[in-house]
C-alpha cells in the first residue's frame, strides 16, 4: 500500500507555510512559494481523484504503522470530491491574495497562516483517525482566528475572540466525544469504530458520543442553533480569508457529518437525518430572511452561506442516494459560486475610499466597474439557481432527490425558500450596480485583481453547461459510501 500521493495535499502546503515563515523578509518569494504550493496541492488532489475513479479506496499508513494502531490517511471518492473543491477554492484564495491590496495581506505571516488553514482543511478531509481530525480542525480554527484578528477591519479582533471562545467549547465537545468513543471501543480509527458499531454491541456511551460529535460538527459548519458567530466572524475577515471561510471551511463540518452517518453511526442515521432536515429548513429561512434585512454586501453573503448550508443539510437529511449526491453537488457548486461572489465584493470594496462593503458606501459604486457587474450578475444568478448555471444543476438534483423521497412538505419549503435567494441577490445587485447614488462615489483607479473571481465564475459556467461529470462523480461517491464495509475493508485489510 504505497499511496504516498495522499501526503501531497497536506504536507506540500505545510512545507510551503514553514518555508514561508523563513522567507518572511522577502514577500515576493514567499508569495511565489505559496502559489506553487497551492498549485501542487491542487494537482495532487486531481491525481488522487483520477486514481480512485475506478472505485479503489486509497490508503496511506503514516510511519508504516498498520491501522487500527497507526494513523491512516484515506481517500475514497467522497473525500476526493470534497478535497478537489477545497484545494480549488484555496488556490483561488491564494491567487486573490496575491493581487489584494489589504494591509493585512501584506503582513509577513499572512501567507503561512493562510496555507496552514488549507492544511487543516485538507487534513480533516483525508484523515481516517478521529483524533487526528480534531488536531486538523484545531489547526484550521487557530489559523483562521489569527487571520481574522489581523484583519483591516478593526472589529475583526472582537469577532476573533468571540469565535475562539465558541469554537473552543465546540472542540471540547469533540474531544469529549472522542474520549467517550475511546472508552467504549478502545480505538480511534474511524473504520475500526464503524466495524465495532456494526458488529452489534451499542453501549449508551457511544450514543452520547454521537450527540457530542454532531454538536461539534454542526458548530463548525455554523448550522442553526450554533450559527450566531458565523456572520460576524466571516464579515470581518480579510476578503481572501472570507472567501475561503464562507465557502469551503464550513464544508469540513458537513463532510464529517456525512462520514459519521454513513460510516460510523449507521443505525442512528435516520434519527440524525430527521434532525438535519429540520435544522436545515430553519437555517434556510433564517439565513435568507436575515440576508434580506442586512446592509453590508459581505454580511449578506455570510448569511447566504448560512442559508445554503441549510440546503445541503436537507439533502443529507433526505438520505436517499440521489439526495445525498445532490448534497455533494450542491456543496461543490456553492463553494465556487460563494468564493467568486465574495472576491468580487472585495474587488469593489477595495476601490472605494472607505474600503468597506457597507451598502451605504458602495451603493451605486458598481456603475463604473462593468467587469465586476458582469461577474457579480452571473454569480448571483448561479447562487439563485437560474439555468444554465451550476447553481441550477445543484438545485435541480436536490429537488429530484426530494421528489424521490416523497417528503412533500420539506420539498415545498425548500423550493419556496429558493426564491428568497433570488430575491436577496437581486436586491444586492441593484443596490450595488443599479441605484443612482445621491452624490457621486469617489473611486480609486486601483484595487484588488479580478483574476481569481473571473476564473471561478468561468468554472461555474462550465460546470453548469457540462454538469454530468460532477453528478456522475457524486453518484459514484454515494454508491461507495452506501456500503461502509468497502471503506472498512480498505482501511483495515482482510
Amino acid at each position: 500500500m504505497d499511496n504516498a500521493i495522499l501526503l501531497g495535499p497536506i504536507f506540500i502546503p505545510l512545507a510551503g507555510a514553514s518555508l514561508g515563515v523563513m522567507l518572511a523578509r522577502n514577500r515576493t518569494y514567499q508569495h511565489a512559494l505559496a502559489l506553487v504550493a497551492s498549485v501542487l496541492a491542487w494537482l495532487c488532489s486531481i491525481v488522487i481523484l483520477a486514481a480512485n475513479l475506478n472505485g479503489e479506496i486509497l490508503t496511506y499508513q503514516l510511519g508504516g504503522w498498520a491501522p487500527p494502531f497507526g494513523i491512516v490517511l484515506v481517500a475514497d471518492q467522497l473525500t476526493s470530491v470534497f478535497a478537489l473543491m477545497a484545494t480549488t477554492v484555496m488556490l483561488g484564495g491564494v491567487l486573490y491574495a496575491l493581487g489584494c491590496r489589504d494591509k493585512s495581506v501584506s503582513s509577513p505571516m499572512f501567507m503561512p497562516l493562510f496555507l496552514c488553514m488549507g492544511v487543516g482543511l485538507n487534513g480533516s478531509l483525508y484523515t481516517g483517525d478521529i483524533f487526528t481530525l480534531f488536531v486538523f480542525i484545531e489547526l484550521m480554527v487557530i489559523s483562521s482566528v489569527i487571520l481574522v484578528a489581523i484583519s483591516d477591519n478593526r472589529l475583526g479582533l472582537e469577532a476573533a475572540i468571540k469565535y475562539l471562545f465558541i469554537s473552543g467549547v465546540g472542540s471540547l465537545f469533540l474531544l469529549t466525544g472522542i474520549a467517550a468513543l475511546y472508552a467504549t471501543f478502545g480505538t480511534l480509527n474511524m473504520a475500526d469504530i464503524g466495524r465495532l458499531l456494526a458488529s452489534g454491541e451499542r453501549p449508551l456511551l457511544a450514543q452520547a458520543a454521537a450527540v457530542m460529535l454532531m454538536c461539534a460538527f454542526l458548530l463548525k459548519s455554523g448550522v442553526f442553533p450554533f450559527h450566531f458567530w458565523q456572520p460576524d466572524f466571516h464579515t470581518t475577515a480579510p476578503t481572501p480569508v472570507h472567501s475561503v471561510l464562507s465557502s469551503v471551511v464550513v464544508k469540513a463540518g458537513i463532510y464529517s457529518i456525512i462520514r459519521m452517518i454513513t460510516l460510523m453511526f449507521t443505525d442512528e442515521a435516520p434519527l440524525i437525518q430527521n434532525i438535519l432536515v429540520v435544522l436545515g429548513i430553519i437555517g434556510i429561512f433564517f439565513g435568507s430572511l436575515a440576508a434580506l434585512r442586512t446592509y453590508d454586501a459581505k454580511r449578506i453573503l455570510a448569511y447566504s452561506t448560512f442559508a445554503q448550508v441549510g440546503f445541503i443539510l436537507v439533502g443529507i437529511g433526505w438520505g436517499s442516494p440521489l439526495a445525498l449526491a445532490a448534497a455533494i453537488v450542491y456543496a461543490f457548486n456553492h463553494s465556487l459560486i460563494k468564493a467568486a461572489l465574495l472576491m468580487i465584493t472585495g474587488y469593489i470594496a477595495s476601490r472605494t475610499a472607505a474600503k468597506t462593503s457597507r451598502l451605504s458606501e458602495i451603493g451605486g459604486a458598481g456603475k463604473t466597474l462593468p467587469l465586476a457587474g458582469l461577474l457579480y450578475f452571473v454569480g448571483g444568478l448561479a447562487l439563485a439557481g437560474v439555468p444554465p448555471l451550476n447553481g441550477f444543476i445543484s438545485k435541480l438534483t436536490l429537488v429530484q432527490g426530494g421528489i424521490g423521497v416523497g417528503q412533500w412538505v420539506a420539498l415545498g419549503l425548500v423550493v419556496g425558500a429558493g426564491t428568497l435567494t433570488l430575491l436577496y441577490m437581486t436586491r444586492t445587485w441593484q443596490l450595488i450596480f443599479q441605484v443612482q447614488p445621491a452624490e457621486p462615489v469617489k473611486m480609486k483607479s486601483y484595487g484588488d485583481s479580478a483574476l481569481a473571481p473571473a476564473l471561478l465564475i468561468v468554472m461555474c459556467v462550465v460546470l453548469g453547461l457540462y454538469a454530468s461529470p460532477l453528478i456522475d462523480l457524486a453518484m459514484r461517491a454515494v454508491e461507495q459510501i452506501g456500503d461502509p464495509t468497502l471503506y472498512i475493508r480498505a482501511v483495515l485489510g482482510g
Binding site: F131, F134, V135, E138, I142, V145, I146, A149, R154, L155, L157, E158, A159, A160, I161, K162, L164, F165, G168, V169, S171, L172, L175, T176, I178, A179, Y182, A183, G186, L188, P231, D232, T235, T236, T294, Y295, D296, R299
Partner: protein, 114 residues
C-alpha cells in the same frame, strides 16, 4: 473510571462553565482553560479504567499486572499543547482588545452589529 477523577472532572467542568459565562474576558479565558483541563483529565481517566500503574516494561520485559493505557497519555499531550496554544492566543487577543477598546468587559466590546 476512577471515582475521584470523575468527581474532579465534574467540579472542574462546572467551574469552567461558570467562569466562561462571566463578563470579564480574562476570567472567561481562565474558564476556557479550566474547561480544557477538565476534558484532559476526563481523557486521562478513560485510560486508567483497568489500572492505575504506570505502563512501564521492567528489565525482564514484563509489564506490571494492570498498567494504565499509555495511548491516552500521548493523546492528551497533544490536546494539552493545543489547549495551551488556544489559551495563549486568546490572552493575546484580550491584551490587544484591552488596548484598542480600553476595556475587558465583554458587554462593552459589542461593536459588531449588522
Amino acid at each position: 473510571m476512577n471515582t475521584l477523577f470523575a468527581i474532579a472532572t465534574g467540579i472542574m467542568f462546572g467551574m469552567g462553565i461558570f467562569q466562561i459565562l462571566r463578563r470579564d474576558l480574562i476570567k472567561a479565558a481562565m474558564g476556557f482553560y479550566i474547561l480544557f483541563a477538565a476534558v484532559n483529565l476526563l481523557f486521562l481517566s478513560v485510560g486508567a479504567y483497568d489500572g492505575l500503574i504506570a505502563p512501564y516494561v521492567d528489565a525482564a520485559g514484563q509489564t506490571s499486572a494492570q498498567p494504565s493505557d499509555p495511548l491516552v497519555q500521548a493523546l492528551i499531550l497533544t490536546a494539552i499543547v493545543i489547549s495551551f496554544g488556544s489559551y495563549a492566543l486568546l490572552l493575546g487577543l484580550i491584551a490587544v482588545t484591552s488596548r484598542r477598546f480600553r476595556t475587558v468587559d465583554s458587554d462593552e466590546v459589542d461593536h459588531l452589529k449588522g
